[in-house]
C-alpha cells in the first residue's frame, strides 16, 4: 500500500516533537516532508538566552540535526517559506513556487514577535528576539556598539538585557507597566527582581512609553524617545513587547483563526485534514507562549495522526521561571490573589527571599517566589493536581522537607549543590552529569532524564532534586507530570485505577483478557504492567484468577532473592522472631551441606542464607523444613517483636505472642508492596513499631495501632490509627487496614504512599467508623489467605521444577 503523505510547515520545537511521537507509535504510516523558513534544523529555542549570555554555544542547543531527518526518512526543506495552502487540490506552495501535495498537513508555524507601530521601527539596528538570526545580530552588535535599549520588561526582554550586559553593553530596559513582568509577578517580587538585576548593572525605566526610534546620519538607530519628551542614546534596540501567534498562512487559506489557528481537543483545525500544534494554535481560546504545553499537544496530535485516536488535549497550566543565572524566580497560576483567596507570605528583604502561596478552599491556586525557588516544582505539582493542603498547611512555606531522606548527603536544594555532588546515591550520578545530559540531549521530562542518566530511576528518593535540576536547566519548559493522569506504562493510556475498576466490574480473570478489553498497545505488555495486572487479578478475584509466574519478577517466580552474582538468598520464616534448637540445627546442617558462604541475622529478626545456587533451592527448602519467609516478595515479610511482658520487667503486654499470632494469620499475604509489622510490649517501643506499615504498641489497657510508617529510603513515622483492648481486635483492625490497601492501592505503592494519597481520614472511615465494613474487609482477607500453600514446601515436592533446572548441558567444545 502506498504511504500517506504528511507535510509539516514550520520546523520548530512543537512540530518536530510531534514527528518524534509519530515515529514512535506509527513509524511506517507516513511519507513525511518538512518545510522550515529558517536555515537551521531543529534547535532548542529556549536556550537562545544562555547562548546570548555566552553560557552555551549554538551547537549545544541543536535538538535534531540534519542527519536525524535523513535517518528517519524525512524530506527536509530548509530556507523554504510556505506562502500558500491550496486546500482543494491539497498542496502547499512555497515562496519560490515549489509545491508539495499532502494527505495530512501539520501547521507548526510558532509565533511572531510583536513590533511596535512607531516611527523608526524598520531602522537598521532595531531587532526582535526570536531566533538564531536575532541572537547572532545581538552578539555581533555587542562587539561593535555600546548602548543597548531593550523595550519590554517581560521574560524575553530581561533575558535579552542580561545577555547583552554580559557581553559588555550598557543596557537600559524600558517598560510600560508599573513593575517588571507584571503578568507573572506582584509588585514586591518585581521590585526584588529589579534590585538584583540592578546589582548586575542593568538600568531600568519604568512607566515609560516609547514613541519613536530615531536614526543617525548613516541611517542606523541612534536614539529612543518617550512620550514625556525624554530621549536616550541607543546603538541597538531590541523589541520584546510580546508575541502573536503566526496564523497568517492558515488565515489566507480560509481556515478559522482567532488570535491563533483554532483547534479542537484532537489538535485538528476546522479543516480536519489539517492539524496545528504549538504557539500558532489557539485551543479553547488560549494560545500558549511556553514550551510545556507543546509536549502534550504533540502527543495528542501524533496519537490522532497515527489513527489511534485515544488522547485528547484538555489545556495546560503553565509556570514561569526566568533563566538568568544568579536570579531565582518562579511564578505560576493566580499569583495576585482575589477577594476569596488567602495568602501565606514569607518576606525576608535583607536575605532576598520572597515567597507567596495563594490558596483557595485549601488548594494552591498560585505562587510566586524570588530568591529561593527550590520548592517551585512541588507547589506547582500540587497546584496542577488540585491537592488539598489543609493537613500540611503549617509546613507549606518551609517546603518539601526532605529530612530523613538518605542517599544524597541530606541535600534538598539542588541550586545549592556543587556540580560534583552526588544527586542519585543509587546510581552514582552527580549534578554536573545531569545538567550536561539535559542540555546535550535536549531533555524535557523526568522520564527522559531517568532514561538517559539513570538518576532517580532506582529508589526514587532523589526525584525531587532531579526535578529541581530539570526545572532550573530548561526553565518554564519543564512540565511536572500530574500523578492523576499518569498511565500505567507505555503500553496503555489507562491508569492503575482504571485497570482495577475494569477487572472488578467485568470480572476479568486473566492478563490477556484485561489487555484485550482495555486495548493494550503491545501484544503482551511489558515488565512494569504485567506484574501489576497479575497482582490486581489475584487480589480482586482470589481463588479464581490464576497466578501467572511469567508475569512476576524473578524473585517471586523463584521464591528467593536474586543477588548480584546470580545466586539466591534464602530466609526462612521464624514467627515473631522466635526459633528453637531444632530449627537452628537444621539451618546449620543445610549451611554445611550446600556450602552456603554467608549466614547473616537480618534486620527483621531472622536468619539469611546468602549465596545459594539456584539448582540447590528446592533441596535446601526440603532440608530446612521451614516455611518461606517471603523475604523476596511483595507480601508480608516479618513481624518484629520485643520480648514483652513474659520476660521484660517493663512489659505490660505479651508482644511476642501477639507478633506470632499476627504473623501466623497474615503470612503468605501478597500485597501491592512489601508489608512489615512490629509489636512492642510497652511504650518504650523496642521493636520500633513507629516505622512499620503496621506498628502495634502494648499499653496497660490494651494495644495502640499505628499505620503507614516506613523505615526505608525516606523515613516516615507511622500515624496513630486507634486503640483497642484485645488481641482479637488487633488482628481484625490491622487485617481490615491491610485489606483496603490490598484492594485499592496501586501496585508498588507502600502503605505510606497510599495513605498519603487517600488521607488517614479515609482509612479511619473504612476501618474505624464502619464496623460492618471492617468485618467484611477482614473476612475477605481471611478468605483470600485460606488454603494458600507454602511455596517452598510445594517446590521441595517438585512443583515448577523447570524453574530450577537447566534445559540442557552442551558438550565442551
Amino acid at each position: 500500500m502506498k504511504k500517506m503523505k504528511l507535510v509539516m510547515v514550520g520546523n520548530g520545537m512543537a512540530g518536530v516533537r510531534t514527528l518524534e511521537e509519530i515515529l514512535k507509535i506509527a513509524p511506517d504510516l507516513y511519507d513525511i516532508t518538512v518545510f522550515g523558513a529558517e536555515p537551521h534544523a531543529n534547535y532548542n529555542r529556549i536556550l537562545l538566552s544562555p547562548v546570548l549570555a555566552g553560557e552555551m554555544t549554538l551547537k549545544e542547543i541543536m535538538l535534531n540535526d540534519v542527519d536525524w531527518y535523513e535517518k528517519n526518512g524525512i524530506t527536509l526543506h530548509l530556507n523554504k517559506t510556505i506562502t500558500q495552502i491550496d486546500r482543494i487540490s491539497r498542496k502547499v506552495i512555497a515562496a519560490d513556487g515549489f509545491e508539495e501535495s499532502y494527505d495530512r498537513l501539520l501547521l507548526a508555524t510558532g509565533s511572531n514577535p510583536f513590533v511596535l507601530p512607531i516611527p523608526g521601527k524598520d531602522l537598521p539596528g532595531v531587532i526582535t528576539y526570536r531566533d538564531i538570526k536575532d541572537t547572532n545580530a545581538m552578539i555581533e552588535a555587542a562587539s561593535h556598539y555600546k548602548n543597548a535599549v531593550v523595550i519590554g520588561g517581560g521574560l524575553l526582554g530581561l533575558e535579552a538585557a542580561n545577555g547583552l550586559k554580559l557581553r559588555g553593553m550598557d543596557v537600559t530596559v524600558v517598560h510600560l507597566a508599573d513593575w517588571l513582568m507584571e503578568r507573572q509577578l506582584d509588585k514586591t517580587a518585581a521590585d526584588m527582581l529589579k534590585k538584583s538585576l540592578e546589582n548586575k548593572g542593568l538600568k531600568f525605566l519604568l512607566k515609560k512609553q516609547t514613541t519613536a526610534i530615531l536614526g543617525n546620519g548613516e541611517g542606523r538607530v541612534a536614539r529612543v524617545s518617550f512620550s514625556d519628551g525624554e530621549e536616550i542614546p541607543a546603538d541597538l534596540v531590541v523589541m520584546a513587547v510580546g508575541i502573536k501567534p503566526n496564523d497568517d498562512l492558515a488565515k489566507s487559506a480560509g481556515i478559522h483563526c482567532t488570535r491563533g489557528i483554532v483547534v479542537s481537543d484532537t489538535m485538528q483545525t476546522y479543516d480536519p485534514r489539517i492539524y496545528a500544534v504549538g504557539e500558532c494554535a489557539s485551543h479553547r481560546g488560549i494560545a500558549y507562549g511556553l514550551v510545556a504545553p507543546l509536549f502534550e499537544m504533540a502527543k495528542v496530535c501524533a496519537n490522532h495522526l497515527a489513527h489511534l485516536g485515544i488522547g485528547r488535549y484538555e489545556g495546560s497550566v503553565t509556570s514561569t521561571k526566568l533563566k538568568v543565572t544568579g536570579v531565582d524566580l518562579f511564578s505560576a497560576g493566580n499569583f495576585q490573589g482575589a477577594a476569596d483567596t488567602e495568602e501565606i507570605l514569607l518576606h525576608d528583604a535583607v536575605g532576598g527571599v520572597y515567597k507567596k502561596i495563594v490558596l483557595k478552599d485549601d488548594r494552591i491556586v498560585g505562587s510566586v517566589m524570588v530568591g529561593d525557588t527550590g520548592d517551585g516544582a512541588w507547589y506547582f505539582q500540587m497546584l496542577r493536581e488540585k491537592k488539598n493542603v489543609a493537613e500540611i498547611r503549617d509546613h507549606l512555606m518551609f517546603g518539601q522537607s526532605n529530612l530523613g531522606n538518605t542517599g544524597h548527603q541530606g541535600q534538598s536544594n539542588a541550586a545549592q549543590m556543587a556540580d560534583t555532588m552526588e544527586v542519585c546515591g543509587c546510581n552514582g550520578v552527580c549534578k554536573g552529569v545531569i545538567v550536561k545530559t539535559i542540555k546535550e540531549k535536549g531533555l524535557f521530562t523526568l522520564d527522559d532524564v531517568r532514561k538517559h542518566t539513570k538518576a532517580s530511576s532506582s529508589c526514587g528518593s532523589c526525584t525531587g532534586l532531579v526535578e529541581q535540576i530539570l526545572a532550573s536547566t530548561v526553565g518554564g519548559a519543564y512540565a511536572p507530570q500530574a500523578n492523576k493522569l499518569k498511565p500505567m506504562c507505555g503500553c496503555t493510556d489507562h491508569t492503575h485505577e482504571e485497570a482495577r475498576q475494569v477487572i472488578r466490574e467485568q470480572h476479568l480473570l486473566t492478563i490477556p483478557s484485561v489487555m484485550r478489553f482495555m486495548e493494550w498497545r503491545t501484544p503482551n505488555g511489558c515488565a512494569s504492567c504485567r506484574p501489576a495486572i497479575n497482582y490486581y487479578l489475584l487480589s480482586t478475584w482470589p481463588h479464581e484468577a490464576l497466578d501467572d509466574p511469567q508475569s512476576r519478577f524473578i524473585n517471586e517466580r523463584a521464591h528467593a532473592n536474586i543477588q548480584k552474582d546470580g545466586t539466591y538468598s534464602v530466609v526462612p520464616r521464624m514467627y515473631g522472631g522466635v526459633t528453637n534448637s531444632a530449627e537452628l540445627r537444621r539451618i546449620a546442617d543445610v549451611v554445611d551441606k550446600y556450602n552456603i558462604p554467608t549466614v547473616k541475622v537480618t534486620g527483621g529478626q531472622r536468619i539469611d542464607l546468602l549465596g545459594v545456587k539456584k539448582a540447590d533451592l528446592p533441596k535446601v527448602w526440603a532440608d530446612l523444613a521451614m516455611p518461606s519467609g517471603h523475604a523476596y516478595a511483595k507480601a508480608l515479610r516479618t513481624v518484629k517483636t520485643c520480648v514483652g511482658s513474659e520476660w521484660c520487667r517493663f512489659g505490660v503486654q505479651d508482644s511476642t505472642q501477639m507478633g506470632i499470632d499476627l504473623e501466623r494469620a497474615f503470612a503468605k499475604m501478597y500485597a501491592p508492596h512489601k508489608v512489615k509489622f512490629a509489636v512492642s510490649g510497652c511504650p518504650r517501643n523496642c521493636a520500633e513499631s513507629g516505622i512499620k506499615d503496621v506498628g502495634v504498641i502494648g499499653v496497660d489497657s490494651g494495644w495502640e495501632i499505628y499505620v503507614a510508617g516506613n523505615g526505608g529510603i525516606k523515613t516516615e513515622v507511622a500515624q496513630f490509627l486507634c486503640k483497642v483492648k484485645t488481641a482479637e481486635e488487633v488482628l481484625e483492625y490491622s487485617g481490615a487496614f491491610l485489606q483496603v490497601y490490598r484492594e485499592e492501592a496501586r501496585y508498588l505503592d507502600r502503605t505510606v504512599h497510599w495513605v498519603a494519597r487517600v488521607g488517614l481520614d479515609y482509612v479511619k472511615q473504612r476501618v474505624l467508623e464502619d464496623a460492618e465494613g471492617r468485618k467484611a474487609l477482614f473476612g475477605r482477607l481471611l478468605y483470600a489467605l485460606q488454603g494458600e500453600k507454602d511455596p517452598w514446601q510445594e517446590r521441595a515436592q517438585g512443583v515448577a521444577k523447570h524453574e530450577y533446572q537447566t534445559l540442557a548441558t552442551v558438550a565442551v567444545v
Binding site: K451, H452, S458, T522, P523, N524, G525, C526, A527, R530, P531, P549, Q550, S551, R552, F553, I554, R557, A558, I562, K564, G566, H802, T806, L807, A808, T809, V810, A811, V812, V813
Partner: protein, 110 residues
C-alpha cells in the same frame, strides 16, 4: 580430541522441546561459552542469547519476557531477543546464537 570438536562446532544441537520452555519465559543451556538463555515468546518464537546482560552481566534468562524483548532482572534494561541489542537510550549487545525449531524440537548452533 580434534574430530568431535569440529563436529559440534558446525552442527545443530538439540537442547530440548519448545514445550520445555515456559511461554513468555526462558531456560538455561550450559555450554563452554557460558550459560545460554533460550527464550520462548507468546507466539512460540524461540531465541537464544548469552545469559549475560550487556550492562552488568545480569542473568537475562531470569527476566520478564514480552513481545520480542526481555527485561533484565537486575536493573531493568530491555534487551531485544532477536538482535541482542539493548533498547535505547541504553547501549550494548548480548551475544546471539542461531536457533531453529524442527518438529517442536529446539536446536542451537553454537
Amino acid at each position: 580430541m580434534n574430530a568431535p570438536e569440529k563436529a559440534i562446532m558446525n552442527e545443530w544441537i538439540n537442547v530440548g522441546a519448545v514445550e520445555d520452555i515456559p511461554r513468555l519465559g526462558a531456560r538455561v543451556v550450559q555450554s563452554a561459552h557460558g550459560d545460554i538463555a533460550v527464550f520462548r515468546n507468546a507466539d512460540d518464537e524461540v531465541f537464544a542469547l548469552l545469559d549475560k546482560c550487556p550492562h552488568k552481566g545480569g542473568p537475562l534468562s531470569q527476566g520478564i519476557v514480552f513481545g520480542r524483548h526481555v527485561a533484565c532482572p537486575l536493573h531493568n534494561w530491555n534487551i531485544g531477543l532477536d538482535d541482542g541489542k539493548a533498547v535505547a537510550p541504553d547501549e550494548g549487545c548480548a551475544h546471539r546464537f542461531a536457533v531453529k525449531v524442527v518438529d517442536q524440537q529446539v536446536f542451537l548452533n553454537i
